[in-house]
């Protein structure tokens, strides 16, 4: 059944994320008071297709499918949707789907661009458990940063409404600002720990192979992303700068990450094989 590939399955998953996004527009307009079960099941159905697509790709490669941008983006999306489905088991938090689905849809459309999924060469330059763990940890970190940005976005919406659109704030089902602030911080902190660990393992793998890799664009870009998140955490912990600025930071740094991830990967000889 070669005409029906993992990419087709993933396309179906993205279509479901798109349907969820369209449904979410009405939820946003109605202040999240609608029953979010529909959204939850749309994302659950998308998740099933998504994980099947990843499984097919993984079995065909015989290793963790994170070797090109399509696979990496698919992995980040998977981390985000999995986290949402777990959080969404609590009925009153299910409305988060209205924020998660546009992110998943955007990531999915991005991942499906044909140039991001070139045929794999006969043998990657780097392989083995260390590389898989390095890639999986970093992509999970991106997933955590994505969710942190989602929580930050919710904070900014609710904060703006509480100041300038007061009735809308009262009608909204969003959690209290303090809780959103804490969720944004914790996700970002956990993402940072995963990223640090992932980069550390990457360094060990590179050193094993010898050579100078610190001029590689993706390595430099990773250090920049790591430093940006570190700065955000210092701002928050050391200077008590929570709230609006921290939420903006989480959203802006993740947007930067999303927009530059593909470019840095394409420019990196050791990541783009």
């Amino acid at each position: 059944m070669t005409w029906f590939t993992d990419r087709h399955l993933f396309l179906l998953a993205v279509l479901l994320y798109g349907a969820s996004t369209a449904y979410s527009v009405s939820l946003w307009r109605k202040g999240f008071r609608e029953d979010n079960r529909i959204n939850y099941f749309l994302l659950l159905a998308g998740f099933c297709l998504h994980i099947t697509a990843m499984g097919l790709r993984g079995f065909s490669l015989k290793h963790c499918p994170v070797n090109n941008l399509f696979e990496a983006t698919m992995f980040v999306g998977w981390a985000i949707v999995t986290a949402y489905l777990i959080i969404g088991l609590v009925a009153r938090l299910r409305f988060l789907g209205a924020f998660v689905s546009p992110v998943l849809f955007f990531l999915g459309v991005f991942a499906l661009m044909p140039a991001l999924d070139p045929p794999h060469g006969p043998k990657p330059e780097f392989s083995g458990a260390g590389v898989s763990v390095h890639a999986a940890l970093i992509l999970q970190a991106y997933g955590a940063f994505g969710l942190s940005a989602v929580a930050g976005l919710m904070y900014l919406i609710q904060e703006h409404n509480l100041k300038f659109n007061k009735l809308q704030a009262m009608l909204s089902l969003l959690p209290p600002l303090q809780r959103l602030d804490v969720i944004t911080f914790r996700l970002l902190r956990n993402g940072f720990l995963l990223l640090t660990l992932g980069l550390g393992i990457g360094t060990v793998v590179l050193e094993k192979h010898g050579g100078e890799y610190f001029t590689d664009v993706k390595v430099l870009w990773s250090i920049l992303v790591w430093a940006l998140y570190l700065a955000l955490l210092i701002m928050r912990v050391k200077f008590s700068r929570g709230g609006r600025r921290f939420a903006w930071g989480a959203v802006i740094v993740f947007a930067f990450l999303l927009l530059t991830f593909w470019g840095s990967t394409l420019l990196s000889p050791i990541h783009h094989q």
Partner: protein, 344 residues
């Protein structure tokens, strides 16, 4: 046998009249016994609250005759001799049952959609039931009324949102703070509305109350009443580092809190969120304070606008609720009443 209702409420009678017709709760069982002994009714429940005095009864008499007898009973029981007529309403089936359902659902309450009346109605019914003054008809009607009230409460928006300044303030605080249990409240100016608002916050678990007022004695009196402590008016700013919610209602002609004064205090608070409720006219808090990070200012107009909007939404729901009630009453009356096991 049919169900009739007779009585007066906040819609038809002023409080001076309602209090004249109020029943002493301890005497209600005896009054019900007198009413049934008079053979006017077979079953009866008396509901007597600050907003209404009503008798719900199942009677074999023609409604017109039953109303005349019940009216006379009400007048005689309360020894009322002044002219009265329009203030007392008389409802026969199906309107009597519809009215019972509306009362249970809070649709006839002064505060639309409130739930206190349901508890009071249950108490009135339980009292009559306990003393065997109800039978098949009223039992069915009241049970159905309680079911309908629950249905309306859960399936419509009639109880959604807060419609008083105090409860809006609490709801706002819950939109900002994860929990109110650790929150410290500062009351600036010992006014009536600020007291009510502080009480609302305390009832939701606020940790402590600090009261300040130009007249320190008043501050002490209110602080004692609220279980908090008083500070001198010149010293309130020193408390700001630990405050999460401030309610201001002084009669000061100028701003009590402005941006210049608040900026250094926010640094002391390590930028924790601060909810400022300004219920003074003229306002106590400079509006630009709302532009500061982590500060949320609500004045009396904001609170009243939110309360009014909630009320408007509740009013929009009335038609929906009434439709539900009409259907449920039709359902109830269409069924054959069980052989009325009249109370003994």
């Amino acid at each position: 046998m049919s169900i009739v209702a007779i009585g007066l409420s906040h819609r038809t009678a002023p409080v001076t009249l309602r209090e004249r017709f109020a029943f002493d709760h301890a005497r209600i069982p005896a009054t019900l016994q007198v009413l049934r002994d008079s053979r006017i009714v077979d079953e009866a429940v008396i509901l007597s609250t600050c907003n209404r005095v009503e008798i719900y009864a199942a009677t074999s008499l023609e409604p017109a005759q039953a109303f005349a007898e019940l009216y006379q009973f009400l007048i005689t029981t309360h020894d009322y001799r002044d002219p009265i007529n329009d203030e007392i309403y008389r409802l026969a089936e199906p309107h009597s049952v519809e009215h019972l359902f509306k009362v249970a659902s809070g649709l006839d309450s002064m505060v639309l959609g409130e739930t206190e009346i349901l508890g009071q109605l249950k108490q009135a019914y339980d009292l009559a039931l306990k003393h065997n003054h109800t039978g098949g008809r009223l039992n069915k009607a009241f049970q159905k009324a309680f079911n309908v009230a629950k249905h309306i409460r859960t399936d419509t928006n009639i109880q959604r949102g807060s419609i008083s300044v105090g409860s809006v303030a609490v709801e706002l605080a819950e939109k900002i703070f994860t929990t109110l249990t650790d929150r410290n409240v500062l009351v600036i100016g010992a006014g009536d509305t600020s007291e009510k608002t502080a009480r609302s916050l305390l009832s939701r678990g606020a940790k402590s109350i600090i009261v300040t007022n130009r007249s320190h004695d008043k501050a002490v009196a209110l602080a004692t009443e609220l279980g908090g402590r008083a500070v001198r008016f010149d010293d309130w700013a020193s408390e700001f580092a630990d405050i999460d919610i401030a309610i201001s209602s002084t009669s000061a002609p100028d701003y009590v809190i402005d941006r210049v004064k608040l900026a250094p205090l926010m640094k002391l608070r390590k930028n924790r969120p601060l909810l400022l409720i300004d219920i003074a006219v003229p306002r106590d808090i400079e509006p630009e304070v709302n532009l500061m990070e982590n500060v949320y200012v609500y004045n009396i107009d904001d609170l009243q606008a939110i309360a009014a909007d909630y009320l408007k939404q509740r009013q929009k729901e009335i038609a929906h609720c009434e439709q539900i009630i009409i259907e449920k009453v039709r359902e109830l009356l269409a069924r054959r009443w069980p052989g009325a096991t009249a109370a003994t």
